[in-house]
């Protein structure tokens, strides 16, 4: 190899990690610019931007949970059902007249326990693939949610319970208008994503999650208790779905049987668009956030332009395929053959 080749090689090697990390953000920025030119008056207005964040608020929690699972080379199909069951339990506890701080904690605990159930099922029952366990619990949790609620909506929560999903942070002290508030759910997304970014990138457990996805045998041979880490991951995924339930309770003021129906697929799509690999070990928290945003902005933008929801489905599907194809191309460049 002459020196010119080597320079080129090292430039590639230097650029690849940046592209891997920030490529998806580039796509997001391009989308925002395009949308801005298509809808110059509306798209970047305060009202619309906060609206997008409110719409993606609970999906972003599910996506983050599913992301961690996907990093371990697993899958969680039950997050939508976990959220629905947690929401129903919240609604019942709220209707029973429990104080707000109990009501607020209930879905978090319920979600965590559902995730724990998934994790223990996958590891103790030695399921051949998490797909099977979580496909089972997709039905089990939603069925349970319908059983305990009788399959009917339960509405009307107190303001404290609705705060995370519906609350507004007043910004008039900054000289802004009353309508230019900050949704509490936006702040919540930021906090949760920062915490999980730190967890995945800075802690030992986070590193082990990536190691398990990269090579479970290597992780096991290194003395890592792979099953324990998997149980933690699925439990956290359930916990995040519980947070999703709390946000949704605030947004809709109601527990309803169809809550989160098919939202597991949106969550998976957001992870894949955001660059997480189905084979595990690859993907970033920032990427998931970008994936959630891309899906949110796409839906929002298409709604603003009066494009039918059928076309939205076609477009989102196309973006999934395209995003993964870009990832395939990237890997052709990045991996040594």
């Amino acid at each position: 190899m002459d020196s010119k080749d080597q320079d080129k090689d090292s430039l590639y090697l230097k650029l690849i990690p940046y592209f891997e990390r920030y490529g998806i953000l580039l796509l997001l920025v391009i989308m925002i610019i395009v949308m801005h030119f298509l809808q110059p008056d509306v798209f970047l207005s305060w009202r619309n931007v906060t609206n997008v964040f409110k719409q993606i608020s609970w999906q972003s929690m599910l996506a983050l949970g599913v992301f961690m699972v996907i990093v371990t080379a697993g899958i969680d199909l039950s997050v939508g059902s976990i959220m629905m069951l947690s929401l129903m339990i919240l609604a019942i506890v709220a209707k029973a007249g429990a104080p707000w701080y109990i009501v607020v904690i209930t879905p978090l605990i319920a979600g965590f326990l559902c995730g724990l159930f998934n994790g223990l099922g996958i590891t103790l029952l030695r399921m051949p693939h998490p797909f099977i366990m979580t496909l089972g619990t997709l039905y089990i949790f939603r069925g349970t949610g319908n059983l305990i609620s009788g399959g009917t909506p339960i509405s009307g929560f107190t303001d404290e319970v609705r705060y995370l999903g519906h609350g507004r942070i007043d910004l008039t002290w900054l000289g802004l208008e009353k309508s230019q508030y900050l949704p509490v759910s936006l702040v919540l997304i930021a906090i949760v994503y920062i915490i999980f970014w730190i967890f995945m990138n800075k802690t030992r457990t986070g590193k082990w999650i990536y190691a398990i996805g990269g090579n479970p045998n290597a992780a096991r041979a290194s003395g890592i208790n792979v099953n324990k880490i998997l149980v933690i991951v699925y439990s956290l995924c359930g916990f995040l779905s519980g947070i999703g339930a709390l946000i949704l309770a605030g947004r809709t003021d109601s527990g309803y049987p169809n809550a989160g129906l098919q939202s597991e697929l949106d969550a998976i799509a957001a992870c894949i668009i955001g660059g997480a690999s189905f084979f595990g070990g690859r993907g970033t928290v920032l990427g998931v956030f970008a994936g959630v945003m891309i899906m949110g902005i796409l839906r929002n933008g298409l709604n603003l332009m009066d494009v039918s929801s059928f076309w939205q489905q076609v477009l989102i599907g196309s973006i999934i395929v395209l995003a993964v194809y870009v990832d395939v191309l990237r890997r052709d460049f990045g991996t040594r053959k």
Partner: protein, 249 residues
């Protein structure tokens, strides 16, 4: 050197059953410091099973393991690692998606603890990795390079570096050159000779007579799960060892 011939690890009458199959029967093995023992045998002779017993991955059905003269029961690979017994697996047991340094310290990362949370000390990982790779004279572009970007020989070097990062006394290598290009084999063999000089006892499982005769001091053959033959390398020949593998003395 007095420590040069110190007995590090001894397996006594190790037997391992898998259901009704006898994988190992009354197998004995000894390894001294600074020595390289070659373990040969046909497929299914029990080499890998024996190594997995030594590394704590399998528990022997009968027999015992003695480390520096004391009997030890290994419950997991972590136990054997704590004793200074390291394994380099045939499939390398590296996570390709992680950088070199994080692979070397995987499972034993230096951390800063904050309550329950253990934060990785990336700076320390990098420093220790660079120092360790330097000590073993392993050349890579950067300790931050992902393992999947490395060649087979470099990966094997990382796997060996990983096994010796925590003052290993015995390193067990399963087919260390099997997956390598010919030009890379020499580097790995040099690495093994380097380890011996530092007083590490090395057990090499290999089919390749060239490897055995390049680095080993002693060779033992397993045949159908039993000790078949053993000799100082200087007292035997390739043809004789090949005969042992096929069960002929």
């Amino acid at each position: 050197m007095s420590s040069a011939n110190q007995l590090l690890l001894e397996a006594k009458n190790v037997t391992k059953y898998f259901g009704t199959i006898t994988a190992l029967e009354n197998v004995n093995l000894k390894i001294h410091s600074g020595e390289c023992l070659g373990v040969v045998g046909d497929n299914g002779a029990g080499k890998t099973t024996l190594m997995k017993v030594l590394s704590g991955l399998y528990k022997p059905s009968a027999g015992s393991l003695h480390f520096e003269g004391k009997e030890k029961v290994l419950e997991s690979p972590r136990d054997s690692q704590n004793l200074g017994l390291e394994m380099v697996y045939q499939d390398l047991a590296l996570a390709g998606n992680l950088p070199i340094g994080e692979n070397i310290f995987l499972g034993r990362e230096p951390t800063t603890n904050l309550g329950l949370l253990k934060f990785l000390d990336y700076k320390k990982i990098k420093e220790l990795t660079e120092a360790h790779l330097g000590k073993l004279k392993i050349n890579v572009k950067s300790a931050d390079q992902k393992v999947e970007e490395l060649s087979g020989g470099q990966r094997q070097a990382v796997a060996i570096a990983r096994s010796t990062a925590f003052n290993a006394k015995v390193v067990i290598m399963d087919e260390p050159t099997a997956a390598l290009a010919i030009k890379e084999v020499g580097k790995v063999l040099d690495l093994i000779n380097g380890l011996k000089k530092t007083g590490v006892g090395v057990i090499v499982i290999s089919h390749r007579m060239d490897d055995i005769f390049a680095v080993c001091d002693r060779v033992m053959a397993l045949f159908q799960g039993t000790n078949f033959a053993e000799s100082e390398l200087s007292n035997t020949s390739r043809d004789e060892v090949i005969g042992w593998i096929m069960g002929k003395k």
